[in-house]
Amino acid sequence: MFNLSLHEWKGIGPKHFVGLANFQELMHDNVWWDSMGHAGYITLIALTLQNALAFALALACDREIRMKRFYRVIFFIPPVLSEVVVGILWNWILDAGMQNGVHIGLLNHLLYTSGLPQLVHNWLGDPKTALTCIAIVHSWKGFGWGFIMLLAGLQTIDRQLYEAAKVDGAGTWKTFTNVTIPMMLPVILVVVILTILGSMQVFVLILSMVSKGLVFHTEVPVTRILSSMSGTNQFGYACAQAVIFGIILVCVSFAVKKLSDKAKQA
């Protein structure tokens, strides 16, 4: 791939060696760096909203609650659905159109019928909300993975530790911060790294929700790479994008690992 990134190539026919020109061009490609920012935003939402939800639900299911097996299955349904199916489903939920005076989209319909017509919105057609909607749907689709891993991690914690904490007079919060979190750090690290890698590379969901995108507001690195390849036939440039993107992902993963190691030592 690195070799191809040093060439100008249309995907077929001869390749022309251009040295580092593709990388130079990439450094000045604002759309590319904006797309990186968009992926970062989606990742941030996933790291917070998605993982907080996953952790909260894992904690709930780790306790002796009724129908916990049922919940486990329910929470794991979104991750096993295809991203295209999820995109189509949410497209219908977020549809901004109307027919015979009735909102077609489920969300707008619910907002309207529940007396909140001022909140009815063109969710995917407005740059202010489109990316957030995608990030939320991505988090909804992905929280089940974190839930399963965190739940598995919680179940490996020795129950005697909780009993010892109770005997020492620790309350729920103290037990959570001093027992649960430290014991869960390795699992949390894996979940965080997988969330970062999965969220930075999201693209099928975007294609199925907003097709080729809303101007450049919903572009992420992978859609830009795709666009360079199949949209504008710049395979060499696409490879340069992929190389830079890969390096960034590896660096981020190492940084998270280092941070986690420091947290463990602390």
Binding site: I12, G97, M98, G125, A130, M209
Partner: protein, 428 residues
């Protein structure tokens, strides 16, 4: 030692994966296509062909078309292209396939029997697969593909919804169209939908009006870099989108709609007008068989030049020049485009046939589409094509206008910046 063996195995796998199978002539033809709606009919026709000739045709579907295009490029790299396939890309890429020896020159087959095969097909359909003398791609003049149907892009109107708004006849001019938009808005019907999330449909719509406002010569001069996109005529083209937005012509969410969603909206009578291709006839029939609609060209905004619509070969197949079954593949395509098979394809898939004689078998709506073929044009037959990055800037600019983010003048300036950059890059 273990590491060495593992390493060697990995190397063998890596290099082995890139090796193509040596091809031997056989009684089998492999066809790769992307047309989901025609797959069943292709399978039936393949079965019929086997009965008639004893040659087995394996038809494999790879959809959607974007994924198909990538598969073809990957297969070309690995030298594992099938006997018959399609190239869904720009003419320059088609030319690169020919230069790479991956597409057979079919001129001799078309010219045989005093050009009987060539005469049987619509010229507009063949034009897409033809390379003329002095073509800019440096390809030997000839015909390199076989059109299996023709298509064009027009506007469709819902008869029932128009009647509800008191509109008796479909609009013939842009002003009449705006009046229809206002009438529809008054009774709460969304006037217009199209799959502009896919960009190329918006590009096509703009291109229709560019031809209408400034004529083909000026459009081509722009592509050559002789006319800037900041020219008042181009700003007028972009201003149509601003005007339609201001008049409330668009169904909410049009800019992010894929064409399948837009087709669904029109089929389910959520919008009165749509901009789509003739393939939509089949799609609408499947979604809502009772839909009453008609076809009209986009209403012209100017009398200066004729409005041109995009049209030509809808789907074309090429023959792999490296195939050991090249002659059998050509014979199969001749059979597929013969009148009998074209009637079957037209009836079952509701597409305009490429064969002239088969066109008598089409439905009234398709006939309306067929009338538009005379005023059709297509980027693949233009003497020059715009740089893809300029097209992207233009199409994204249209989206920016539709959502009210930029003015036509701002978009024109942005596009011109990209044009200047790409022109400079090309000169380097």
């Amino acid at each position: 030692m273990r590491a060495l063996v593992t390493g060697l195995c990995c190397l063998a796998l890596v290099f082995g994966a890139g090796c193509s199978k040596a091809q031997k002539p056989s009684h089998k033809i492999l066809v790769w296509h992307w047309m989901t709606d025609r797959h069943e009919t292709f399978l039936k026709l393949a079965e019929e062909y086997k009965k008639q000739t004893g040659i087995e045709v394996t038809v494999e579907l790879f959809a959607p078309s974007d994924a198909y295009s990538q598969k073809i490029i990957a297969a070309a790299q690995a030298n594992v292209l099938p006997d018959v396939y399609g190239i869904l890309d720009k003419k320059s890429i088609f030319a690169d396939f020919i230069k790479a020896g991956l597409v057979a020159d079919l001129s001799a087959a078309f010219a045989a029997d005093n050009g009987a095969w060539e005469r049987s097909l619509f010229e507009k359909a063949l034009a897409v697969d033809r390379f003329d003398y002095n073509n800019i791609y440096g390809i030997k003049p000839g015909i390199y593909g076989v059109p299996i149907d023709v298509t064009n892009m027009q506007m469709l109107y819902n008869k029932k919804l128009l009647a509800k708004a008191g509109i008796q006849n479909p609009p013939k001019t842009y002003d009449e169209f705006i009046k229809a938009v206002e009438a529809l808005k008054r009774i709460g019907i969304a006037p217009f939908v199209s799959g502009w999330g896919e960009l190329w449909l918006a590009d096509c719509f703009a291109s229709n009006y560019a031809f209408n406002i400034m004529g083909e010569d000026k459009v081509m001069a722009t592509f050559r870099g002789q006319v800037p996109y900041t020219d008042p005529d181009w700003i007028r083209v972009l201003d149509i989108f601003r005007d339609l937005r201001d008049k409330g012509a668009f169904l909410d969410g049009i800019v992010t709609k894929g064409n399948k969603y837009a087709e669904q909206d029109f089929a389910l009578e959520r919008a009165a007008f749509s901009f789509n291709g003739s393939w939509g006839v089949n799609v609408y029939h499947d979604m809502n068989p009772n839909l009453e609609y008609g076809v009209m060209p986009p209403p012209p905004i100017s009398n200066a030049f004729h409005l041109k619509i995009w049209g030509g070969a809808g789907s074309s197949f090429v023959v792999n020049a490296a195939s050991a079954n090249k002659d059998k593949a050509i014979a199969f395509l001749q059979w597929l485009t013969a009148v009998g098979q074209q009637v079957v394809l037209a009836k079952e898939t509701k597409n305009l046939p490429a064969n002239r004689e088969a066109s008598s078998s089409i439905s009234p709506v398709l006939e309306e589409f067929a009338k538009g073929m005379e005023q059709s044009t297509h980027p693949t037959v233009w003497p020059i094509n715009e740089d893809p990055l300029v097209i992207e800037a233009f199409d994204k600019g249209i989206q920016a206008i539709v959502i009210g983010e930029k003015t036509p003048a701002q978009v024109a300036a942005d596009v011109q910046k990209v044009k200047v950059r790409q022109t400079a890059k090309g000169k380097r």
